[in-house]
Symmetry: C2
């Protein structure tokens, strides 16, 4: 029995369970020469998938209606007619939301569960960690002693960004939505300060207090009013890394914000959209640093692991209510 999750409707606003359809097939999958049969072990759910559900231009192709959704997946090789993969190997790559599937192996990389837990290859040693490392370094070009503000700081990417910031000698301020998350930023991830945007009465002033020397680097996962508040605190030559805008992904109307242009002019500041796929040639170097820091205990991570294939759509929807701490993963 093979279960598959299809995109049934393009969500209007916040995605709902009725936008997804489950299909069950009884057939046995057969592989041809060069192919492998995979059993899904872990599925990553990520905010950027919301963009692929739209019917609009984006940086990766849109999902088609009534076709399987894809995301980062860890799978086990059950059968192999491909000499690069042996039965029992674990692989990571962009795969469909299916319990089992056939692949040519193209775009898949083997992962080693003895070096780190398998789920880490979807997070701190996967796209999450690469996004954090390369976004901060390639666009941010951080200099020891500077101040870094991270929004969505308790999220998968944000919590890694903050820790890398500390490793690089920055003052790190995190913005998140509950006191519990703020506490975690400071005690578990070593952030210097944290601001709860849900209880702050004046985000501009609270940021000024938490970043007394101003903001040199902003790693933006959220957009919207939180990012507006950061603008009032940026320094000359600030670099704003625009990695995500989860606060507006579900908007049905075009979001409006404070005009950024006057802030960029008066501070000679830079703002750049970051997409990790553009930096593929830097992945090996980034992975070397990330796995080194992980092994040395300098980098830690949090996962929210949800059980069961049937809960993938709900886990995805919960991202937009901040129900995850760190990387949200579904264990099949």
């Amino acid at each position: 029995m093979i279960k598959t999750i299809l995109l049934k409707n393009r969500p209007e606003g916040k995605p709902s369970l009725s936008d997804f359809e489950f299909v069950i097939e009884d057939s046995n999958l057969k592989i041809s020469e060069g192919e492998i049969l995979l059993e899904t072990i872990y599925v990553s759910v990520d905010p950027y998938l919301r963009g692929r559900m739209r019917d609009a231009k984006s940086y990766i192709p849109q999902f088609e209606l009534n076709k399987p959704i894809q995301s980062g997946v860890i799978a086990k090789v059950l059968e192999s007619k491909n000499e690069k993969f042996a039965v029992g190997d674990f692989v990571s790559g962009m795969l469909s939301w299916k319990t089992k599937q056939v692949s040519t192996g193209e775009g898949l990389i083997k992962v080693d569960g003895s070096k780190a837990p398998l789920s880490a290859y979807l997070g701190v040693l996967g796209m999450t960690g690469l996004t954090a490392y390369l976004g901060l370094n390639e666009i941010g070009k951080p200099v020891t002693g500077e101040t870094l503000v991270v929004s969505g700081a308790a999220g998968a990417v944000g919590s890694v960004v903050g820790q890398i910031g500390k490793i690089l000698g920055l003052r790190v301020v995190g913005i998140a939505g509950t006191d519990e998350k703020i506490e975690m930023l400071k005690t578990k991830f070593g952030f210097d300060a944290g601001i709860n945007y849900n209880t702050s009465k004046n985000l501009v002033a609270d940021l000024a207090k938490a970043a007394p020397n101003g903001v040199d680097l902003y790693f933006d996962n959220v957009g919207g009013p939180i990012s507006d508040a950061v603008l009032f605190n940026i320094n000359t030559f600030a670099r704003l890394i625009i990695c995500g805008a989860i606060s507006v992904y579900n908007n049905t109307e075009l979001p409006k914000s404070v005009s950024v242009q006057p802030f960029l002019i008066k501070n000679s500041a830079l703002m750049q959209g970051f997409i990790v796929f553009n930096y593929a040639e830097k992945f090996p170097d980034a992975m070397k640093h990330l796995s080194g820091w992980l092994a040395e205990g300098k980098l830690t991570y949090t996962e929210t692991i949800v059980d069961g294939f049937d809960n993938i759509p709900k886990a995805f929807i919960d991202l937009f209510e901040g129900k995850n701490k760190g990387k949200m993963i579904v264990k099949i």
Copy 2:
């Protein structure tokens, strides 16, 4: 008799004549060792001066109330006790709005009226030309065949940006506010296409038509709704050079715009504030190109020259109604 113009009030919204005060002194100016006595010949009025009239942090110091305003000036040396300057020399630099003044010569450069008209040293061979050249090249990094959109295209900076774009082999689209200006962009400055934002019924669609391959480079002098419309047309890896925001300089409330972050993410685009003073080490190289192109006839310029010292404040105010074509200069 020496006339001086002081900043009397910090303008609220659009500046008015009552924000300026004229002072007349009868005294004779005496120079000490190392000083020169200057007679003002041309005064540059520029949109960025509006920012210096505010009581807020900016990239250059604010004007003080009841003190002379300063801007780019061409002056003639009347007396000299400084061996670097001879009587009869012409100099260019940041000087006060005074008919005569004493200077140490610091920050002044000698200009040669036999190589180009003196007023050109306030425009195409001055800050205007340097801003156009360095903004486009240092942030934009243009590649032959790309499409460049320029807002405020008939203004001093915009008209030079467009011409440099053509010299570098770009498709150049200008946005301006009258049909007469659009005609001038195409016939005098060689732009490929022009859009009148005052008569366009759908700026997003008109831009798509004028830039059929999308927008790779945007040189932004205006901000506001015009810049919002450009966002809908940018290509992957677009570079947006934020040089001015004249449309919002007089706002008394914080301007709001379409949120730029989602556009920057999905296009991996860059947006950077540009201030020419940060690139001083590149001035000599830029000047070599600008004066070379001017001599070869590849670069032309338009000036709006207003007569009389007393008209400086009015000429400045008229900038915000687009009454100038090209560089606005007051001849004393």
